[in-house]
């Protein structure tokens, strides 16, 4: 089971900063050869985790890339951490992105750098070298994902699941205000997927970092919505009596449009034929 050590020395709660959503999409549309997103609107309240679901090609990953400013929408507004990013220049976005951590679908680790250099990439950018303080923060972040022993290995020496966990360590090391997970369990076996989901639940429940998570796996999504991380037992447990608010909601896309937004019980009660078929 993952340890409960803080991933960074200077953890701060991400719930501060008012009631405005940390990410807001207003009527966002984008097309390539054909329209991919049309009139997408939603908000991610601070401290909440929103799970984006839908069949392939509905624009889930695109939403994450738009939220990071890696792509610009054709129309609509995107507000992240109080800043309207659609009108910002690339240079201005670099500062904003330092508040956001992203876990990529295939990890996107730098294959010419070792695990330590990958995890500390942002910090090395600021200091120019791996200092003792950075080394300790890397170890703490790797301890969080239970990969402390891989610090000097290269990505090619890691398994797929280990690479995803290093990706998570890289995303959380700077204590970002928002975390974006792009299919973090895609292509992994069920056991490894569960380990990854447990880490995400742990991050959610211990630090309440606002998160957007894209997933194809219904099982992962419902595990997140029905489990909490118990600090004392140091493991993920079922929220059997639903007494805890897990701050996790769902957003389902179909053909580039939002067709559902709500909690797990609301989703299960929904009678839309498409959603019923999708869940079955």
């Amino acid at each position: 089971m993952p340890g409960t050590d803080l991933p960074v020395a200077e953890r701060k709660p991400s719930l501060s900063g008012g009631a405005a959503p940390i990410i807001r999409f207003d009527d966002v549309a984008i097309a390539f050869d054909h329209p991919v997103l049309e009139g997408v609107s939603f908000g991610l309240p601070r401290g909440e985790t929103k799970i984006l679901m839908g069949v392939s090609g509905t624009g889930k990953t695109l939403i994450l890339k738009l939220a990071l400013g890696l792509l610009k929408p054709d129309s609509g507004k995107i507000i992240v951490c109080g800043e309207e990013i659609t009108s910002m220049r690339e240079e201005q976005l670099f500062d904003l992105r330092r508040n956001i951590g992203m876990v990529f679908q295939e990890s996107a680790l730098f294959d010419s750098l070792n695990v330590e250099e990958n995890v500390a990439y942002r910090l090395i950018e600021e200091t120019g070298d791996v200092t003792e303080e950075i080394h300790q923060r890397v170890l703490e972040a790797l301890r969080f994902v239970e990969l402390e022993h891989t610090v000097f290995l290269f990505p090619s020496e890691l398994s797929g699941g280990m690479r995803r966990r290093v990706g998570i360590a890289r995303a959380i090391i700077t204590n970002p205000e928002v975390l974006l997970y792009d299919s973090p369990t895609g292509g992994l076996d069920p056991v490894t997927s569960n380990t990854i989901i447990e880490l995400i639940v742990k991050q959610r429940d211990l630090y309440r970092t606002s998160s957007l998570m894209v997933t194809h796996r219904l099982q992962d999504a419902f595990t997140m919505a029905s489990h909490y991380f118990d600090r004392e037992q140091n493991k993920m447990l079922p929220n059997a009596d639903s007494s805890r608010d897990l701050h996790t909601t769902f957003l389902i896309l179909r053909d580039g449009k939002v067709i559902f937004e709500g909690t797990a019980p609301e989703l299960l009660r929904n009678h839309d034929p498409y959603i019923r078929e999708y869940l079955s």
Binding site: Q105, L109, E125
Partner: protein
Amino acid sequence: MPIFSLSDFAKEQLQAVQDYSLLAGRSVSNLFAQPRYFADTLLQADLVGVGSLPIVVLTGFFTGAVLALQTSSTLQQFGSLSLTGQLVSLSMVRELGPVLTGLMVAGRNSSGMASELGSMKVTEQIDAMRAMGVDPSKKLVTPRVFAAVVMLFFLSIISDLVGLTGGFMISYLLLGLDANQYWTTAYQSLRFGDVVMGLTKPAIFGFIIATIGCYYGLSAKGGTQGVGRATTQAVVAASVLILVSDFFLTRLLMGFFQY
């Protein structure tokens, strides 16, 4: 539905020129902005400069040698064999040294840059870099462009020197020319304009090699096949651009120095 749309093709080409121009412009403007990546620049200088040295020395030497060999029969007909040094010197310094060095480095490094950056692009490493607040044009492009410009300058000088040595070996050993005569005519025939021309071209060629390699790498899409395509396109485009720009540069500098 038309199979080929002329307007779409024109738009794509225009977009490519625009994207390339923006990238090339940023690679220069980044030199005057923080952060600057000295370690990356040194690493690239080593890859481009030291790494290309063997092929540049080999091509330079044998080009000079074959130049002396090929022209000797013609010069002999006019009784001007003593001008071999002058001919090799002017040819190497003004034209063949910079162009052949440029083509060799384009084949070696333009492709290397395109494949390296292309692989990073298709595996989302470029997006990851941007997502972590690092500007890929500053981190990846500017160090490569700066290193290529500086290194090509010095590689061309080395190419000129070994080319002259190659010409000398043929002139002295096969044609029986006097060593002093060869080096004196080779040195005295060079004018200020020749040297300026020979040193301006490699800087421009270095810029072309690095910007084209980075542009095709950063535009790669479609997995490993896309990386292969980007690599090939980078070498072709860089080589063609070197030869085309060589013509216009030569014309411009000839006008400037009133040849």
